[in-house]
Amino acid sequence: MVSINIQNLEKHYGKVKALHGLNLEIDDGEFIVLVGPSGCGKSTLLRCVAGLNPISGGDILFDGTPVGHLPPQERDLSMVFQNYALYPHLTVAQNLAFGLKVRKTSAEEIEKRVKWAADILAITPYLDRRPRALSGGQRQRVAMGRAMVKHSNAFLFDEPLSNLDAQLRVQMRKEIRALQQRIGVTSIYVTHDQVEAMTMGDRIVVMKDGRIEQVGSPAELYTAPRTRFVAGFIGSPQMSFVTAQADGHQMTLSDGSVLTCATAAQGPVTLGIRPEHFLDNSSEANRLTLDVTNQQVVGTSTSYFATLGDGEIEVIRQGSDTERPATLALGIRPEHIMVFGKDDHRIAA
């Protein structure tokens, strides 16, 4: 278990820069999630930590010791791949033992650890089977087991649940997190699914175009996103955005309506409001009556779409509503309206 320090990490592919001088400090035992859209560099960063991608600049330190120049064989890490990457010609037990045998661990120690991992992951009945005889979920557990037995410095996860169906994914998320907490190993988890990130991470790293947009706990990212990108990326359903002209606390939308915000600003701004913050009209400020343009029922909740100013907003309500109201009466608390300046940075209250 180590702390991982990423300093000024650069990665080029020829002329293309994949990572721009990244800095990140990960504590010993922390479960940190790298999240972002495709091509943001999260997998590239993970592979740099693993040693699978050589780095072009900067360094990576484990407990203060630089490891950027070491091959993947010598970094003492464990990695769980999206496609599991189990050795097809070996049994589950042999898959688990492989890394230990390379290190010339004694046979008794290998047996002890394999049994320990198999018990925790409930894969003992499969120890003599080959990967092709297992289901996706079982294979994923074996991949976890292979990672666990080595007692390595850190665990790296590269979108390990992407190939599983939705239900299994939710279950495996809980299992992985519980396992990590039990073992206490430093973990870096890559996913493109922000729900996964929010439910699993101690801290989340939101990345875009090879840069880190923001690092923080799920709560921080939710309530205090640094940029418009982070605000729009985190939270499901996605935040709604409309443009406005700010004059102090008064925001004038393109259709003339005025909203009062807790934040003050001047000039052209973008306002962001989360679907769950469009409340019923009763006693709130910022009362609006909007025409409903679309409606979607998703299980236990219903989303309504309406036009506000120059943007489309989404309103979410609990319960499945089969009727289609013509209008919605809404209210928004001033502190729930986020204001983003011309540089897409959020203006603090």
């Binding site: 990695m79 990457a85 010609h89 492989f98 292979r146």
Partner: protein, 276 residues
């Protein structure tokens, strides 16, 4: 392709006829060779498919006339040894080129270019090389030449098998601490075993059947191969075709045995190698 609805009877008849004709065409020379090996010299002149008065004498006579069995043994030894040489060199090189990206542009091009070159190019220089290295007229010497000769073929056959293994498996092994050679032996080799087998079989067959280098680089009974030996039958004034057929057929037996036993692997190797 699935059988289509609009297959006319004429079409099917033509196809059946063509297939039958081709099968007869492919089988005929071998059948005729086999049957001739049981013919007396008079029978041979008849030119009929089957012998009138079959005789078994051609076989022992041929073996006494020319050291058939010894030459077959030489061919087998050279073929097996050269197969080993080819694989030992080609397998790591193919892995390094495909999976590690070593010289990924130059190696395929150079091997293709050396394959396109007619072997005659290498004949004279290798003649002198073997002489200097005192490997002339020896089984190891010829095996070395065959081993090198088949490197391009082995590379192109192995290429597709190695490419089939996902990069993640190598990466998982590296993260598990396995060095590059260790990964090759512990993980890759077991997974491409069918490919290695197919490649080995094809290289062994190519070496066994080879004539040009064998004839120029071996001359004594100790190392002469069966293909060279057979061509010696030709030079004689009065050729006993029955004996020649007997010797020929015996010489073909080891190869045909491989065809029957490993047919699945051979066809698989050809199929794999051609798709990519």
């Amino acid at each position: 392709m699935t059988a289509s609805v609009q297959d006319t009877r004429t079409d099917r008849l033509i196809r059946f006829g063509f297939l039958a004709a081709m099968l007869i065409f492919f089988a005929l020379p071998i059948v005729y060779l086999f049957s001739t090996s049981f013919k007396t010299p008079d029978d041979v002149l008849q030119g009929r498919l089957l012998p009138e008065a079959a005789t078994l004498k051609n076989y022992p006579n041929a073996f006494a006339h020319v050291p058939v069995l010894r030459m077959i043994w030489n061919s087998v030894a050279v073929a097996l040894l050269s197969g080993v040489i080819t694989l030992v060199i080609a397998v790591p090189a193919t892995y390094a080129t495909i999976k590690l990206g070593a010289f990924r542009r130059t190696v395929p091009n150079i091997t293709l270019a050396s394959y396109a070159a007619p072997p005659i190019i290498a004949l004279i220089p290798l003649f002198y090389l073997l002489q200097t290295a005192q490997l002339m007229d020896s089984i190891p010497g010829l095996a070395l030449v065959h081993g090198l000769m088949n490197l391009p073929v082995a590379f192109w056959l192995l290429k597709s098998f190695v490419s089939d293994i996902p990069a993640e498996i190598d990466e998982a092994a590296w993260i598990d601490g396995a060095g590059y050679w260790h990964t090759l032996f512990a993980v890759i080799l077991p997974l491409i075993f069918p490919g290695i087998l197919a490649t080995a079989l094809i290289c062994i067959i190519l070496s066994y059947n080879e004539f040009l280098f064998a004839s120029a680089l071996t001359f004594s009974e100790a190392s002469r191969t069966i293909t060279v030996g057979m061509s010696l039958f030709q030079g004689e004034r009065l050729v006993n075709f029955g004996q020649m057929a007997a010797a020929s057929f015996t010489g073909m037996v080891p190869i045909y045995l491989i065809a029957f036993l490993f047919q699945k692997h051979l066809v698989g190797g050809l199929t794999q190698g051609s798709i990519k």
